[in-house]
Amino acid sequence: MISRSKTSPEHVEVRVLRQAAPQQRSYWERFRVAYEPDMNVISVLQRIAARPRTADGQDVTPVAWDCNCLEEVCGACTMVVNGRVRQSCSALVDRLLEENPAEIELRPMTKFPVLRDLMVDRSRLFRALEKVKAWVPVDSYHDMGAGPRQSPEAQQESYPYSQCMSCGCCLDACPQYRKIELIQRDDETDEQFAARQAATYDRNFVGPHAIAQAILFNQNPTGQMNADERVEALTAPGGVQVCGNAQNCVSVCPKEIPLTTAIAQAGRAATVHSIKRWFDR
């Protein structure tokens, strides 16, 4: 199936950037895992979890990481693999070894606070979806008949956006998306801390994923009725104007979502919105 080097290696060398907890110093650790055909980064991490011993024979704690579906639809297992942010489930060992036969390098995402090892806190990413009101505000969940009819063309235009799994690759690759790591103060309750976090996140860049979701719901025949609210959110501080057009987002998106198209549309909508608002004064 997948082209494999003629002689498969006996072992895979894996270098992992570890960190015991937030705010702690990070450090590299090297592991050696017996090679098996058809491995991916997840199965490598599973082998490490089953036998957490470094390449030089030291017993250590297992590497913590996040994953769930293992078929690249849940968005959980994002990490930086060989320098590239991606889903670790679809990072196949044979391919990675073609890139670099010496080792596989695993690091946590760079734009989110590390919780432990390869686990990061991506709550900011979901907060952005609240900011842009990424939903259809239906009247009720009672039986009101079918939704509006839509052309197959309209469906085909929306569908790619609806595949966004909130993995955060686009954010990690975006030069304008800066890491924010807040620490709960001793005198702060959980609720107060959450509110401070939300306020800080809201002032900073929402990110391409949220812009694309705003566009998705503005395309929806019902969602359209609240298009202004979403565009308003995109013109606020941290909105679409922050985008520096590096276009990294679209190149790392595992679902090939046309993020830059969405950003361009959002930019135009924001301009129109601002002019309209100026006239409405």
Partner: protein
């Protein structure tokens, strides 16, 4: 009165549907999930969601036939009223999902497009590419986020459910949960708890299920007294792609859109698939099931693929078992718009383009029809009483179960594209029932703080003891691997009593070994090692329920197949002999129905740590059970005899007995 609060365990389709509906009814919800809810296993559902629709109605389809297909496909093991209610709700549920913005594929005129799925002859399945579960989940996730902003829903993401809290009267008053990051253990008071924790795939090691599907929440309910029903009914999906970490689903929709399953007639033919001429290909499903073809119900397709590889030795490869699932004859553009999602998965993980080269697939554990026992209240005409507090309630008052973790909708075998339906249906349907429960239950007042504290402390002590445990050298991951291999061998496609007996013994040994596991991480921060070990320990009660249920059930029904008790078709030369054999076959069928058409009920005895089985009758009053004759040799004559028997008894059958009749009309068309 203070505002009522419900804790929902699990943020997949069922849990989210329940949360949003409860919020709409003004009930506060704490939503507890192992993963951020948007990453729940429902995203893995690919093919679609079933309902009767305006395209199938003109062809003679209606809700009753959807209901009939579902119970026939499930080999009549379901209580019929909940299934009937679900079938009648199905069109409304798809309408709602459409209104919520799900990007369903469209017809040229702008209506929802539909495709055909297994176990039916109608195109009932609405779909959004091949990522329907993902799209449906996102729509509900968005609604829940909306209510989160409004302050009615509070999420506990990356929290583990440790146990329900029962008061002295046995009523559920909340639950204990644990933060997977800080490891804090916290009791939550609640007026009701709804468990929507999905399936227990991890008990089988590798399956098509996600890593969060460890069954622990259901097991933790089971261990405090909730009944577990029909555990032995585990669906093995016919088409998955084997992998070293998981078996990746290849949706039934691939066959629904025209995909064909075949093997070379020459065993392990070394030629590339494209070079094997038609005449040398064995389309064994189409051959053996001319009517349903590649879309026979899953249990049947699975057994055929399994047998063609094992018994008949026709596996495509010699090193590992697999058959071809072929889409290469279909137009590329259609494949991209209707199946893009799954084809990308195959391409990414196998490095081969399935539009050019047939996929290699093999069956994999996929879904649990069994689950936590739940109740319902029946109306006179055989539906459910809306908002009855009994609906979806377990035998522990105040503890409800919905979605894959309840046992109610799929009987012995689930039809494709019915699970998304049952999850959303049970989630929406439970909400008013929970509200009624508040009104009808005896006034209990505030949850005693001492109870909360005591339960929190108990779990803290268990946790601390695990961390401190020095004895034992067992490795939880290796024990899990052994458990998975054992379960896959003993309790999947083909079951044998000797194997099951020995598996039960081994599971006891594995459980004792799991008790002696040593942790490689004894810290108290994001300790995945201790969380996994706890979930492993909690796999054994369910594993025993599955195995013991399978051992006891000496018959073949749906996904539960024991060759020793199979009822083979009939072959004879003379019509008289055929007739005689068919009579005998029907006698045996009736006997077996009397003996085995009942739900397996498992109960856990926490002092002995043993599982005890009992049985409960099934309400089959709406559609009389009839033989499942898909592809059986001699089916025509058996069906003839069966119809005569039914007709002679027509006077005795009360209520709407049209199901069987309607079904046969359809099957004959």
């Amino acid at each position: 009165m203070a505002q009522q609060k419900v804790v929902v365990i699990g943020g997949g389709l069922a849990g989210l549907a329940a949360a949003m509906k409860l919020a709409e009814l003004g009930v506060a919800v704490d939503l507890v999930s192992l993963t951020p809810v948007k990453r729940s296993h429902s995203v893995c559902a690919q093919g679609g969601i079933n309902s009767v629709n305006d395209q199938t109605r003109p062809l003679g389809d209606d809700e009753w036939i959807h209901f009939d297909d579902t119970v026939y496909g499930g080999d009549f093991l379901q209580h019929q009223p909940p299934v009937k209610e679900m079938a009648y709700w199905a069109p409304k549920i798809i309408d709602l999902m459409d209104r919520l913005g799900v990007t369903f594929n469209r017809t040229p005129e702008g209506f929802l497009d539909r495709r055909r799925f297994g176990g039916t002859l109608f195109k009932r399945t609405a779909f959004a590419g091949a990522t329907t579960g993902q799209q449906l989940l996102y729509a509900l996730d968005e609604q829940v986020r909306r209510y989160e902003v409004a302050g009615l829903i509070k999420k506990y993401e990356y929290w583990d459910f440790l146990a329900p809290i029962l008061d002295a009267g046995g009523q559920c008053r909340g639950c204990v949960i644990q933060d997977l990051v800080s490891m804090e253990i916290r009791p939550l008071a609640a007026d009701a708890v709804i468990v929507a924790s999905g399936g227990p795939g991890l008990i089988y090691g590798r399956s098509t299920m996600s890593m969060a599907c460890n069954g622990s929440a259901a097991s933790r309910c089971f261990q405090v007294g909730v009944k577990y029903a029909n555990g032995e009914f585990i669906q093995v999906h016919p088409t998955a792609v084997p992998g070293s970490d998981k078996l990746r689903l290849m949706s039934e929709s691939a066959r629904g859109e025209g995909g064909r399953v075949w093997v070379p007639r020459t065993p392990q033919d070394s030629r590339p698939a494209a070079q094997i001429p038609e005449s040398e290909r064995y389309y064994f499903l189409e051959d053996r099931y001319p009517e349903y073809g590649n879309l026979v119900p899953r249990d049947i397709a699975t057994r055929e693929i399994f047998n063609v590889c094992t018994k008949e030795g026709l596996s495509v490869e010699s090193e590992r078992l697999c058959v071809y699932l072929d889409l290469t004859h279909l137009p590329r553009e259609m494949l991209d718009t209707k199946l893009g999602g799954i084809l990308e998965i195959y391409e990414k993980f196998q490095g081969v383009d399935p539009r050019e080269v047939p996929m290699k697939i093999f069956p994999a554990v996929h879904y649990s029809m069994g689950g936590l026992w739940v109740d319902y209240e029946r109306t006179a005409d055989g539906g459910l009483t809306a908002a009855s507090p009994r609906n979806q309630q377990t035998n522990v008052p105040g503890l409800f179960a919905i979605g894959e973790c309840d046992y109610q909708y799929h009987g012995g075998n689930r039809l494709g594209a019915n699970s998304l339906l049952s999850c959303i249906f049970s989630g929406l349907y439970v909400a008013p029932s929970v509200v009624s429960y508040f009104q009808t239950r005896e006034a209990t007042g505030e949850v005693p703080p001492a109870l909360l504290e005591q339960e929190g402390r108990r779990h803290q002590e268990r946790h601390d003891a695990l961390l401190k445990r020095r004895s034992g050298k067992e490795n939880p991951y290796l024990v899990h691997q052994e458990l998975g291999n054992l379960m896959t061998r003993a309790a999947t496609v083909v079951r044998d009593n000797d194997d099951l007996r020995s598996a039960i013994e081994t599971v006891h040994q594995l459980r004792d070994r799991a008790d002696r596991c040593a942790l490689s991480d004894t810290g108290n921060w994001t300790n995945q090692n201790v969380v996994f070990t706890k979930s492993l320990i909690d796999m054994f009660p369910l594993a025993l329920s599955i195995l013991q249920g399978a051992l006891a059930r000496d018959e073949c029904r749906g996904a539960h197949y024991k060759p020793a008790f199979a009822m083979p078709g009939i072959e004879a030369d003379s019509p008289e002999e055929k007739r005689r054999l068919a009579e005998a076959w029907c006698d045996r069928f009736e006997e077996n129905t009397k003996k085995w058409l009942k739900s397996t009920i498992a109960e856990y005895d926490s002092s002995s740590r043993e599982v005890r089985l009992s049985y409960e009758p099934v309400d089959t009053t709406l559609i009389p059970p009839r033989p499942r004759l898909y592809g059986l040799v001699g089916a025509e004559v058996i069906e003839e005899v069966w119809k005569e028997r039914l007709a002679s008894r027509a006077g005795d059958v009360s209520g709407n007995g049209s199901g069987a009749g309607t079904k046969e009309t359809v099957a004959a068309s």
